[in-house]
């Protein structure tokens, strides 16, 4: 079995404890307009030309392997579980000393759940701490199956309003909420993660809805991820429309306000940059 992987990023410090390697799955059912990994949305391998790297040869080969500058880039690669394992074990010494491990992210991991499950089983055999970052948008049983092999679940909560969520990000909030509850009931460690996106998720009503849900599930910890523009250049070379191009990042005080609001509800809040 092979999975479609877009990137394996070593030395990540934000997506779970310690020093971690993130395996980014390619393909996502949602369409969050703020997505900072737009190369991970499509379920297809994508080939693009990154103009900022291009040295303008007299004739362009449009061939990733031939391009001397690396401007021609391929996003996505089918990998076996073994191939992924080979890559992630390279930093096992760092996981061991820092209580780190491997985080599966995307794209949406649940869209390749069979592959993810095999990968997680192998990781656990190697005594590696496992985490997932998911939108929760997938089959409940598949998610619970993965949870059996996971030490930590980072569960994204974005737009809580059912209609808006469907219209804007193509998400079914009923399914997401149901899955979150199922995970919590399975006694796994779950931390909700809230992207703070001006005009989308960063408004009082949405934040309160999130707090209500989190409290009702008796979760104690929450991550907030302030909007950033680091992904914006990727839209250019992917030739995709980026609606948030001119949206300023939220100010420190705005982020602090959200943090304080959540802390008032006895939540332990971590700002993830």
């Amino acid at each position: 079995m092979k999975g479609l992987i877009v990137n394996i990023q070593r030395y990540s410090l934000q997506d779970g404890d310690g020093i971690r390697t993130i395996v980014f799955f390619k393909g996502c059912p949602l369409r969050c307009p703020w997505c900072s990994n737009p190369e991970s949305i499509s379920f297809e391998i994508e080939t693009v030309k990154i103009l900022s790297k291009c040295i303008h040869c007299p004739v362009c080969s449009y061939d990733v392997d031939e391009c001397p500058s690396g401007a021609m880039t391929r996003f996505g690669q089918y990998m076996t579980v073994d191939e992924v394992i080979q890559e992630v074990v390279k930093d096992q010494i760092f996981y061991d000393t820092s209580n780190g491990g491997v985080t599966l992210s995307g794209g949406e991991v649940l869209s390749q759940s069979a592959f993810a499950k095999e990968l997680l089983i192998e990781l656990k055999k190697l005594n590696i701490h496992t985490a997932i970052e998911t939108s929760g948008h997938g089959r409940t049983q598949a998610l619970l199956d993965l949870a059996n092999h996971l030490d930590l679940i980072l569960f994204d909560l974005k737009i809580m309003d059912t209609i808006k969520a469907k219209q804007i990000i193509r998400a079914d909030t009923t399914l997401i909420n149901h899955n979150l509850k199922a995970l919590v009931q399975s006694k796994k460690k779950v931390i909700p993660r809230i992207p703070l996106i001006p005009g989308y998720t960063l408004d009082d009503e949405n934040i309160h809805a999130i707090i209500r849900l989190v409290k009702s599930l008796e979760l104690k910890e929450i991550h907030i991820l302030p909007f950033h523009q680091y992904g914006s250049n990727k839209y250019e070379f992917l030739n995709k429309d980026y609606k948030l191009k001119d949206v300023p990042v939220p100010s420190d005080s705005t982020v602090q306000d959200v943090k304080v609001k959540m802390e008032k509800e006895d939540l332990h809040v971590t700002i993830v940059h």
Binding site: Y11, I55, S69, D91, I93, T97, S98, N99
Partner: protein
């Protein structure tokens, strides 16, 4: 602690213009001229004794520790007996040179030209060496494959047996030497040692007298008492062993200054300070001396070690920029029986360093499986301040490395660091740690050019021929190093230093004659990052993909990749072939293979003192001048561009996967073999180390470093932004201390080239 006074001492030291002082040179020369028929070692001893009795001494305002090498702070003293030429040639430029400028008055220039230069011209160490070096040995030097060091200055890079000095006192050493001399009256080493040991005692008595005189003139009662105390201590320790921490620090510093007069050398390092000072510290605590008091003395000591700067030729200053004087201290480590040697004083050393944050002392911490987590965290906390201090050494690889060199288990556990990152057994080793540099990349360049027309050559053939050339030039480097070694024996024995190194007194031999217990010569293999990057790209593009022939590639190198076609080729070489530092086995195994080959080639040879050659891999700041000596290379590096910094670091900007991959790449080298030392620079963005978690993160990272069996790592934790600002407004950033190589320096005292290099080194987020 009197913080105002600390501030005053710092100002006193750093707010003055550095000057050249001819005083030592004149006193030395004046005496040397009167001893023409005596053996060299006696002449050296008498000249040193003359300096010690005549040189102007001072106790500066507010000082609790006496002992100044020169009246004015941070003056450069010169030793024309080693090399009278470079300063003669640079008299008019030294004031305004880009790196390490020193002021010299017109009057002194004249004295130098009329008095010193004419006497030493033709009869210096440099002359001896130049006359002995054969055309064969000169070939690799001229081709910039080999750089021979220590041809123009006295003996340093050594740690005296301070433990013995402090535990028994000067008189005990004098008595021991006297008795040996009585039994062996023909032995000139004993004779010479006695002359300088007694002169050292008298020199300290001079300070006692000066302190007394100053005390009598002093109106302020508090200061008067302090001066009387300096007088009492100095008088006592000129003979007897110290009994308090204060007295021990004072004797230690006097000996540091006195040893400087003998050899005017870089890196008469301090070794395991927290080990040999601990009994004094402990006794004081038992006696009820307040911790604050001890802390104050220690802080004064830390400031003091910044007073000695080494004036170098402008060429040498490029290699060792920003005064790596080498008051290097290694904290923690292992006890004789293999347990953690961390004690209360180890913590205090880091705590007090956090207060002063100066380039010296060059603190290092030894890391091992037994290190206390609290000390590891204290270490991380200090690193996070951004001065590059302390650097980290890994016992788990260094101790076994020494065992492989025939060092006893107990001695190996006691290892310490001299200079930047050179590994040594304190009080027992004369290691000539910096005798030569070997430019491995240059050897590759030469080999490719020699073989460019061979149409049927394979990649394996190329590797074989590179190795043959390594053999050939290593042998010549050894010959050259041994000539320099013998030059020091003939011209620059150091009887005082030798009397403080184990076995010299027993054997009746100066260190330059092989008196020390361990006798190494350290030679550094440089350029493995660029070398493996180049070989890997060459293998792929010429032999596997067959895009171009070897001849075409060499042609592109000869043309420095000028022109569109070659530039496209260069871009391909940079982008399409993986580089060292990204944890790719195929690339990393190349550097591993060549560095190991170099190590094995070197360790076969002996030096005239009966010791072996030991390989190291560090560049100090030499990656810039050594890069200037190499043409364009198949890794896409252009002609004269710098090499990778540090020694083991990846080429700047070519490590794209973060620091874990960098460490993994280096872990594939056989780090047990580079027993002379190696160096890795890592830069972290200060933001990512914020908060209490930041400390834990760094500590955990260091534990992984330890498990990966790397020898050394050091950090710059300064943002690029701060460095740019400091470059633009040097006056506002006078106190900014950064890591250069195995040492730290004031950022604004570095020339632009090295500043830029520090800015460029990849910044990682932790």
């Amino acid at each position: 602690m009197d913080y105002d006074r600390i501030q005053l001492l710092k100002q006193q030291m750093f707010d003055t213009t550095r000057e050249v002082s001819l005083e030592r040179a004149l006193l030395y020369t004046e005496n040397y001229q009167t001893t023409e028929n005596q053996p060299t070692i006696i002449r050296r001893a008498m000249a040193t004794a003359h300096i010690l009795s005549q040189v102007k001494i001072s106790i500066r305002e507010g000082e609790l520790l006496a002992g100044n090498r020169t009246i004015k702070p941070r003056s450069g003293i010169i030793s024309p007996e080693m090399d009278p030429y470079w300063i003669y040639n640079e008299l008019d430029t030294i004031e305004n040179r880009p790196q390490d400028p020193f002021y010299i008055s017109e009057e002194d220039k004249k004295i130098y030209k009329d008095v010193l230069y004419p006497y030493w011209k033709g009869r210096s160490l440099k002359d001896y060496i130049n006359n002995k070096i054969t055309p064969e040995v000169r070939e690799p030097v001229d081709k910039n494959i080999v750089k021979l060091n220590q041809t123009d200055k006295g003996q340093g890079h050594i740690i005296a047996n301070f433990e013995k000095l402090l535990q028994s006192g000067l008189q005990a050493t004098v008595d021991e030497t006297s008795q040996l001399y009585k039994k062996n009256p023909e032995n000139t080493f004993y004779d010479a040692s006695l002359i300088v040991l007694k002169a050292s005692q008298n020199h300290i008595v001079r300070y006692a007298n000066l302190a007394m005189t100053l005390a009598l003139q002093e109106d302020d009662n508090k200061r008067k008492d302090e001066l009387l105390e300096i007088a009492r201590i100095s008088k006592k320790i000129s003979k007897h062993k110290p009994s308090t921490f204060y007295e021990a620090c004072q004797l230690l510093w006097y000996m540091c200054v006195i040893l400087q007069y003998e050899s005017n050398a870089s890196s008469l390092s301090l070794g395991g300070f927290d080990k040999y000072m601990y009994s004094f510290y402990q006794n004081d605590i038992k006696r009820g001396v307040s911790k604050d008091n001890l802390r104050e003395i220690l802080t004064h000591f830390w400031i003091k070690v910044n007073d000695v700067v080494l004036i170098r030729s402008s060429n040498s200053a490029k290699y060792f920029a920003g005064f790596p004087t080498g008051y290097t201290i290694t904290l923690g480590g292992l006890t004789e029986n293999g347990r953690s040697a961390v004690n209360e004083l180890s913590y205090l050393c880091l705590d007090t360093y956090q207060d002063i944050r100066l380039p010296q002392p060059n603190l290092g911490v030894r890391l091992n499986e037994f290190i206390e987590r609290s000390f590891l965290n204290k270490t991380s906390e200090t690193i996070r301040l951004g001065t590059g201090v302390p650097q980290i050494f890994n016992d788990e690889v260094i101790v076994p490395g020494f065992l492989n060199r025939g060092v006893s288990l107990e001695d190996a556990r006691d290892y310490s660091v001299v200079g930047c990152v050179e590994l040594s057994i304190p009080g027992k080793t004369y290691g000539l740690h910096d005798i030569a540099l070997f430019n491995l990349l240059k050897v590759m360049e030469l080999t490719l050019k020699e073989n460019q027309k061979e149409s049927f050559i394979t990649f394996d053939d190329i590797i074989v021929r590179i190795k043959e050339n390594i053999d050939r030039y290593v042998q010549l480097m050894i010959e050259g190093s041994n000539i320099v070694d013998e030059g020091h024996r003939a011209f620059a024995p150091v009887p005082l230093l030798s009397s403080l190194i184990n076995q010299c007194l027993d054997k009746g031999k100066d260190i330059t004659y092989g008196g020390a217990k361990y006798n190494f010569s350290g030679v550094q293999g440089i350029g493995i990052a660029n070398l493996s990057d180049s070989l890997y790209a060459l293998k792929k593009i010429v032999f596997e993909e067959e895009r171009i022939s070897l001849e075409e590639l060499v042609d592109a190198m000869d043309n420095n990749f000028e022109g569109d076609v070659y530039e496209t080729l260069r871009i391909r070489l940079i982008n399409k072939y993986d580089k060292y530092g990204n944890d790719n086995d195929e690339v990393d195994n190349m550097s591993s293979d060549i560095l190991r080959y170099y190590a094995k080639a070197v360790e076969k040879y002996q030096n005239p003192r009966g010791g072996i050659f030991t390989p190291g891999s560090y560049t100090v700041s030499a990656h810039i001048p050594l890069g200037e000596a190499v043409g364009a290379t198949p890794d896409g590096r252009k002609s004269k561009e710098q090499l990778a910094d540090g020694g083991l670091s990846p080429m700047v900007g070519r490590d794209g996967l973060g620091p874990t991959a960098v460490l993994k790449s280096i872990s594939k080298l056989d780090n047990y073999l580079t027993t002379n030392g190696s160096l890795l620079n890592i830069k972290f963005n200060p933001k990512t180390l914020e908060g209490p978690e930041g400390i834990q993160k760094l500590s955990n990272f260091l534990l992984a470093f330890m498990k990966l069996k790397l020898q050394h790592i050091q950090f710059n934790v300064v943002s690029v932004d701060t460095l740019r600002k400091a470059q633009a407004n040097p006056n506002e950033y006078k106190g900014l201390v950064v890591r250069v190589a195995g040492y730290s320096a004031f950022f604004t005292e570095l020339c632009k080239g090295i500043q830029d290099d520090i800015i460029r080194r990849t910044e990682h987020n932790l």
